[in-house]
């Protein structure tokens, strides 16, 4: 049976991991090239590296980090942050990424999704969607751009369907309301998106404990769940989390 995936996210600023350093019981390495294989050994099904550096001049640094991180990593590896063109994507793939994640650039220029999908296949294109509940959209969710700083007026379900039509292979759905709270994933948002599209949905934002993962897989109908800083709040290791998910009757890769 296809398993539910647990994805470890490395938020990287200027070459160092800035969140989630307790994922694998490590005392800060901070170095993504050390953390990624460690997460993989302790049970992460996939690694996502998000470059949250604001400045574009750090691109060459990022590519070097991607190269080093991918060197000894033998699980799927997604890279996102600042990918604005097919050329940017090519550079990241050449550095060793298996998939790229696009967000703001896809909102500005939705054709970018199909350009990358045509060249590398849909399975290599993750569209990251940052969603926030909205009064103006009457209880629906709105898509935000630029790391959750810029309103777009777009309704989430319309946008995810469009990205699917344009060739997105997966949706990385982050709840801005829940992100960093540890209060649990937004299961309602996740379920709405998961039934609206026919591509896998990765839930993100709000993970605080193992129960939250169980909920988002069961109620939220998520195909995968991502977390970065969750292990500050009580779960010590990824392997412990995988064990708990297996005990809850969820199909997970455990033992792995």
């Amino acid at each position: 049976m296809l398993t539910k995936r647990v994805i470890a996210c490395l938020d990287v600023d200027a070459g160092r991991v800035v969140k989630g350093v307790h994922f694998a019981d490590l005392r800060d390495a901070g170095d993504p090239a050390e953390l990624a294989p460690a997460y993989s050994r302790s049970g992460a099904d996939e690694i996502i590296l998000l470059d949250i550096s604001a400045a574009n001049q750090k691109r060459s640094t990022l590519l070097e980090i991607v190269r080093k991180t991918a060197q000894h990593l033998f699980v799927p590896f997604t890279v996102g942050g600042g990918i604005r063109s097919l050329n940017d994507a090519t550079a990241v793939f050449d550095a060793g990424a298996d998939k790229i994640a696009v967000n703001s650039a896809a909102l500005e220029n939705p054709a970018l999704i199909s350009q990358i999908a045509r060249r590398y296949g849909s399975q290599a294109v993750v569209v990251a969607v940052d969603a926030k509940s909205s009064f103006t959209l009457r209880g629906n969710y709105e898509v935000w751009a630029c790391g959750g700083k810029q309103s777009t007026g777009k309704e989430v379900l319309a946008w995810v369907r469009e990205t699917e039509d344009r060739g997105a292979g997966e949706i990385l759905l982050t709840s801005i309301d829940r992100d960093g709270t540890g209060d649990g994933f937004d299961c309602e948002l996740t379920a709405r998106v998961a039934v609206a599209v026919r591509i896998p949905v990765i839930a993100s934002g709000g993970a605080g404990n193992a129960c939250h993962f169980v909920q988002v897989f069961k109620e939220g109908k998520a195909d995968a769940a991502l977390a970065a800083s969750v292990f500050h709040y009580g779960i010590n290791t990824l392997s412990g989390l995988k064990q708990e998910l297996a005990l809850a009757g969820l199909p997970v890769r455990w033992p792995c």
Binding site: K4, V75, P76, F93, E170
Partner: protein, 196 residues
């Protein structure tokens, strides 16, 4: 030397990295002469079935067929395995190598496509490729089309339907999953191939 065939079908770097990590010399190439000298051939590939027509265009199909008749071990990964079948619904006008019977088909609409993630194998016949890889092992898959279960199927997987996860006949091998992305079990499988 292991030749990793470059035919513009996705990212070959990860396969090369894994083979190098295991300590076997390899080269990514689209040069027919270089492929002819190789003692093993890896046919990776993600992407559209029509990309396999690049193999024809680059004169690689003939070299691959020739290698097969010389019993040079060949491992097709993902699209590379599907190419070893007769054809695919994805690009019906493009012919496969027809080393294995049947047509690759798209997963049904009632389930999510692509099939992405870790799924378990049912090993029917260990053969040479699945040594030390028991039934129940998880491997990483990402594909929208599936190859049918045939006589030469060594491992099956299930997603909406049972399909070929591994095939083997003589010196011909194919896997639908990505061993280079499947952690330790995937590396074990690649080592089995490199050691042939």
């Amino acid at each position: 030397m292991i030749a990793i065939l470059d035919y513009d079908a996705g990212n070959l770097a990860s396969v090369k990295k894994a083979v190098e990590y295991l300590g076997y010399p390899c080269v990514v190439t689209s040069d027919p002469l270089e492929v002819e000298r190789a003692d093993k051939i890896l046919l990776p590939g993600v992407g559209h079935f029509s990309a396999t027509s690049n193999l024809e265009a680059r004169g690689l199909s003939a070299v691959v067929r020739n290698a097969m008749s010389r019993e040079i071990p060949l491992l097709g990964i993902c699209l590379g395995m599907q190419w070893m079948f007769e054809s695919s619904e994805e690009a019906p006008e493009v012919l496969g190598l027809a080393w294995f019977r049947g047509q690759c088909q798209r997963f049904p609409d009632r389930i999510k496509v692509p099939h992405v993630g870790w799924n378990q194998l049912r090993v029917r016949n260990t053969g040479r490729l699945f040594q030390n890889i028991p039934s129940g092992t998880f491997m990483y898959f990402t594909h929208s089309y599936w190859a049918p279960v045939v006589e030469c199927t060594t491992a099956e997987c299930e997603y909406g339907t049972a399909f070929s996860a591994g095939v083997e006949r003589g010196s011909l091998f194919g896997v639908q999953f990505h061993p280079e992305k499947s952690g330790d079990p995937g590396l074990t499988l690649l080592r089995n191939f490199c050691e042939l």
